[in-house]
């Protein structure tokens, strides 16, 4: 327990001093990693901790981004309202989609969510006058104090840290345990007197909200939004991050996001065959690392501790 908090504090300290020592590009990259980590973690709340087949999580990421971007570019409202509106738009759609899909389970739930999500994507993709269509919206202004790489890095770090802390608390709360029970055994949970639909809906709202927060952060860091943020293939990519890192662990998806974003940035720039590499990684993980990388690290650390004991 003590060990864990030491590791966390060390990582956090490194993250705080990072912009002072590394070049701008790495600061930017770390911002992207942080917000993508939040995105993957928020998806894991639904799919890993509650067993809901949230196949189209990218929709909420995109809605959060578009909500923020549209308030900034189309209205004169203050910035902080834009930052709040993004996630709220994501939650609203999360509620609507959730209510519609709730009657179905597993694969059917996922497929209906994908079709509803594709509907939203299609509207965003086509509505030039409002959303910028396939161009997206770019050159979005943000307040001066977060406009440069350092500023938006600290803003991202701050928001992501708080979000992750909240998610961590939720997972370890009675509510968090309850949704894990729903995941493991929905029928049994019902016989305990728990209304699973209400719990699942709340989980969807939480996942949608923090997905939206990640989208809002993307606007702050990249000053842009694009319809591809909410295309179904990106949803699968987030799923891969979750699976790669470890689905039933809290930090796994974050680690998955770090790995995928870093690889994508480096390999994507030196080879055109990044999709193939991603595909091969995925196949490898499915067959040889079904528990994810975090579990591997954990076992390794535990194994070492065990060896040291004996």
């Amino acid at each position: 327990m003590v060990k864990k908090s030491i590791i966390l504090i060390t990582i956090f300290t490194v993250l705080i001093v990072l912009p002072l020592i590394v070049p701008r590009f790495y600061v930017y990259l770390t911002s992207i990693i942080l917000l993508t980590g939040l995105l993957a973690t928020s998806l894991n709340i639904a799919i890993g901790y509650c067993g809901i087949y949230q196949f189209h999580h990218a929709i909420f990421y995109g809605l959060g981004g578009y909500g923020t971007a549209l308030v900034i570019t189309k209205t004169n409202l203050p910035y902080y309202i834009a930052f709040i509106v993004g996630p709220i738009v994501a939650v609203l759609f999360s509620l609507i989609i959730g209510l519609i899909c709730m009657r179905l389970t597993k694969l059917y739930f996922g497929m209906l969510q994908i079709s509803l999500g594709s509907l939203i994507w299609a509207v965003v993709y086509r509505w030039y006058s409002f959303t910028g269509g396939d161009d997206g919206i770019h050159g979005i202004p943000v307040p001066d104090f977060i406009a440069d790489a350092k500023g938006n890095y600290y803003f991202t770090l701050f928001v992501v840290s708080i979000s992750i802390f909240i998610l961590y608390r939720i997972i370890n709360s009675p509510f968090g345990k309850t949704i894990q029970g729903i995941r493991d055994n929905p029928i049994r949970t019902v016989s305990l007197g728990i209304n699973i639909n209400v719990h699942k809906l709340i989980v969807l709202l939480i996942a949608g909200f923090f997905g939206g927060v990640a989208g809002m952060l993307f606007v702050v860091v990249d000053n842009a939004v694009f319809p591809d943020m909410m295309f179904w293939t990106y949803s699968l990519e987030i799923l891969i991050m979750v699976l790669l890192g470890g689905m039933y662990t809290f930090w796994g998806p974050f680690i998955g996001a770090i790995i995928i974003v870093t690889l994508r940035t480096y390999l994507g720039s030196i080879t055109q065959y990044w999709p193939m590499i991603l595909g091969l990684i995925l196949i490898f993980v499915i067959f040889f690392l079904p528990q994810g990388i975090y579990a591997l690290i954990e076992n390794f650390v535990k194994g070492k501790a065990h060896n040291a004991d004996s």
Binding site: G136, H138, D228, Q272
Partner: protein
Amino acid sequence: MKSIKNLFFVLLFLIFVSFAEGADVIKIGIVDTYSGPATTFTKDVLDGFSFALSQINQKGVLGKKIEFVTRDDKFKPDIALTMAKELVLKENVDILMGTISSASALAISDFCKKEKIPFLVTFAKSDKITGEKGHRYVFNMNENTEMAGRAAAKVLSMKNFKKYWIAGDDYEYGHAIANSVFNHLKELNPKIEKLGETWWKVGETDFTPYITQILSAKPDFVIVATGGAGMVNFQKAAQSTGFNKKIPFYQHTAIELSTLMPQGKNAPEGVYGTANYLFYYPETKENKEFVENFKKQYGRYPKSGALYGYITAHMIAKAFEKAGKIDKEKFIDALEGLTVDSPVGKVEMRACDHQIMLPTFFGITKKSPDYEFLIASDIVSIPAKDYMPTCEEVLKQRK
């Protein structure tokens, strides 16, 4: 201990060398689409560019060599922006160029404005690039939709068509081209009328239903605004329905090699088109030489993209020479109003809006005994000054 000291000196030397070498090259970052159908066009830009570089680098620019790195944006603006950031922030490129996607071009342009990096657009055709969204750091090295439309309108206004139909890809490029042609046509010849419009989704592959719709309306002439792969698909559908024999139609780039070559002898005849470059026209010494050397090196005929790439390389080299040192602001000052020689004659970078001035060729598709594919006949060359919007018109959009 001594070995460590030696190692230290070796390291120091290596760092020095790498810095020295870094200063010895002009580094250009290219972001473009190298996967998916658009590759047909971007490969030519790249080959035209490196073809020109191989000449330029023989004597160097200010004693330095020009080098370039490429990044694939997969035709997606989000990836394009990430790649541009990587090239500028990490690879420290001096100049950015590329993109066939207008969305990518506009996204990178916004970023370059913020970072004060010159950005030379090589194939994206949105008139917003140098128009509404234009700024000091962005240059367009090829025609735009507004120019293409004006060029076509100029020629079509001399023909005797009255009833027009407009059709095209339902996205910005399609609407921009079609509106530009029709609006300017209406200006030049107010008697024409528009019977109707048809729009299909981008990436539409089978045009037969739309063609039957247009046929039933019986217009005199159809303006078809498709881009990329849609060009070939529409012509195929026109051929199989006999559309081209019933109603003549215009497509921008219909006479281009990229459209006609994949169809071989099966392409429809009698299609009106415009293009920036034809390897068999103008029959000047410069063009023949360019085609011959390009073909020797790459085993194929150069297309428009090769011209854009070629011009871009020479513009960059000449601008740096004129600037006298590697400085981004001086480079921009030098590039404004610069003229270079090219296979289509002298071309100028217009100073006011950073739009290159290229001639446009108008022609009608026809079978040829010399080639295994159709070529343009009845070619009319329209010089840049005759069809480009004026500086005032462009700058008015910027506000």
